[in-house]
Symmetry: C2
Subunit: 369 residues, 2 copies
């Protein structure tokens, strides 16, 4: 083949992508979605103060953003009650997961995760030539803490991944259960604790911020409850030593100036966050109510989406998903057995939930007539 050779690990990677975006589906099908309920975004949008802050700062984008994200980090440190040097800010959790894999993984290293958990993490693991070891979800559609722990003790991986609350199922563990899990993991294994949906979870889900261990990194984001998915701002929390390592490889000017400003303004408007959280809780209940009425089984959720057990197998849930997409409703579904008996609907506006549930009702009634 002509041209320079790719690195061996890269040459062996598939050309697939971990998440096909809704715009890509729209271009492929040639029609626009009527409701966008597949990417776990917040249709309640960012705070009006965030929108104003972006507009006000727009003329200043000719300067690079602060390479240390100092003001945002200071605000986060104050809000969370943790020193600034325990926080690293990056281009969304996705960006930080990629950096984490590059920091710790060498070819042939093992990584433990749940089968069906976040595919973008797996994508970054593959790029390092590391090997995934998966354990099944438990019978209540939770990531299984006991299976994860047993696997860690057996294979001694470099990293174990756990999302709490979980995506794609929306299930969760209590802070106490997570804390005991963390304590049981040997120090040689890094715990990647993905708390992207932490804000939408019940009180008592997130361990205290003082839970610090040399082998623990916790990941949070402005993409979900704060309504800033398009701005790409996430952060990781860990010991100062673990956090400092990111400076060795990160794109120091990678977080845009407006993203830093928007995230700071979002953090400062906790009243708006509370409103959003209430709206998300209401939407979750509405999705549960409507889908129960159809004879489906919505799974209790601590996130801004609801996984819905369609009561049959993957083939049936796939038919439902495809019918929804054909009728202009963007939702998604878990990819692996037995999670794939479900579809997953993000909390939309009341109007979009009603539209999606009306379409779903029509599809289910036609199918079961």
């Amino acid at each position: 083949m002509a041209g320079p050779e790719l690195a061996a690990i890269i040459a062996g990677l598939p050309a697939t992508v971990p998440f096909v975006g809704p715009e890509v589906i729209e271009r492929n099908t040639g029609s626009k979605f009527r409701a966008r309920l597949g990417a776990n975004e917040s249709p309640f949008g960012p705070s009006p103060k965030v929108i104003a802050a972006i507009a006000e700062a727009a003329p200043d984008v000719w300067t690079y953003g602060d390479s240390e994200n100092h003001e945002l980090k200071e605000a986060l440190a104050s809000h969370l009650g943790t020193p600034m040097d325990t926080i690293v800010i990056g281009e969304g959790i996705d960006g930080l997961l990629g950096l984490t894999c590059r920091l710790y993984l060498e070819p042939g290293d093992k990584v433990v995760t749940s089968l069906g958990a976040y595919p973008t993490f797996n994508y970054h693991v593959a790029a390092q030539g590391a090997e995934l070891v998966t354990v099944p979800y438990d019978e209540n559609d939770r990531e299984s803490l006991s299976e994860l722990l047993d696997s860690v003790l057996a294979v001694k991986p470099k990293i174990v991944y756990l999302a709490n609350p979980d995506n794609p199922m929306g299930t969760w563990w209590s802070a106490g259960e997570i804390t005991r899990f963390v304590a049981a993991i040997p120090e040689e294994t890094l715990i990647v604790l993905d708390e992207a949906y932490g804000e939408t979870a019940p009180a008592g889900t997130l361990p205290p911020i003082t839970l610090m261990r040399p082998n623990l990194l916790r990941y949070r984001t402005f993409s979900k409850a704060y309504g800033l998915a398009g701005m790409r701002v996430g952060y990781a929390i860990g010991t100062a030593q673990a956090v400092a390592a990111f400076d060795r490889i990160r794109n120091h000017f990678g977080v845009t100036k407006l993203s830093q400003i928007a995230a700071g303004a979002a953090l400062a408007d906790q009243d708006y966050l509370e409103q959003t959280l209430a709206a998300i809780a209401t939407g979750r209940e509405e999705i549960a109510r409507r889908t129960k009425d159809l004879g489906l089984k919505p799974i209790p959720s601590a996130t801004n989406f609801v996984a819905i057990d369609c009561g049959a197998d993957n083939a049936y849930a796939t038919l439902v998903l495809n019918a929804m997409q054909d009728r202009g409703i963007f939702i998604r579904k878990p990819a692996v057995a037995r999670l794939n008996r479900c579809i997953r609907m993000s909390v939309g506006t009341p109007k979009d939930i009603a539209l999606a549930c009306d379409v779903l009702e029509d599809i289910i009634e036609t199918a079961t007539r």
Copy 2:
């Protein structure tokens, strides 16, 4: 040491950063700069149409940006006259250089560059465990095409890096000379041709867009002439095969929604770009005139900055730089001999150029009294 071990290459990296931002210097010194002329940003700012587009789109940032950057890519393809599949968009040239190093470099691979050329590229090379081989600039402060070629033929590196126009010296080669250089590099070596300052260069500097080879990637940005440094949008141009490889490892949702919109609006306003280019040319001439009057030797520049030979050694230029910074003028200087006899001043507004040159005049006159 407690905690999981970093990958061996990462553990061996220095904890230094390639570019200390002006905000970091301000925090360290406790005082704000009066003029910001050290990061080669455009003080003429983005087009008013860009500012309006950002403000208009601000309420929509709750959705992720398009993972394929389709609209921006389409506009670039049309503007440049090259197929969409020959373009990859990323988080600034810095982000794309990092991805390029990850795609091609394995530990122990060699990379040829000029001693004193772009340090952020070297930073990404180091993160892959590859080895830099450097050649000196020529006697006219240009990256030496003949030295680079000789080194490539001798060490058979995986990558050769060349910026045209050059940073930090502002010098350049003609399109014909670059085209001959590209043709002479063996296909096994990837040519990373950094054209960040392409827009500000004289006609006949950039090879035609049709210069496509399996081992050539050309890098451009919205950070410089388009005035969007804070938005982090760069792109690389190459064969469809070379461009497709980025999809295997890039952060697919990494370019923010507003960044895609801002870059698209900037590209659409070529009249504004022309105004900016005229203002940059005028500013370059003014810096040259003022510094010549001080007995210094401004080096002819094809960029939005001017390297200024202070007529003595590194120690003298460093004294000048420090005195400028002490008096509130942010400029920088090349780091290695013999380029380090120079200081480097970005084209500011007429007011900032006047301020900086007044301060410089005072420093030089005091020093030579």
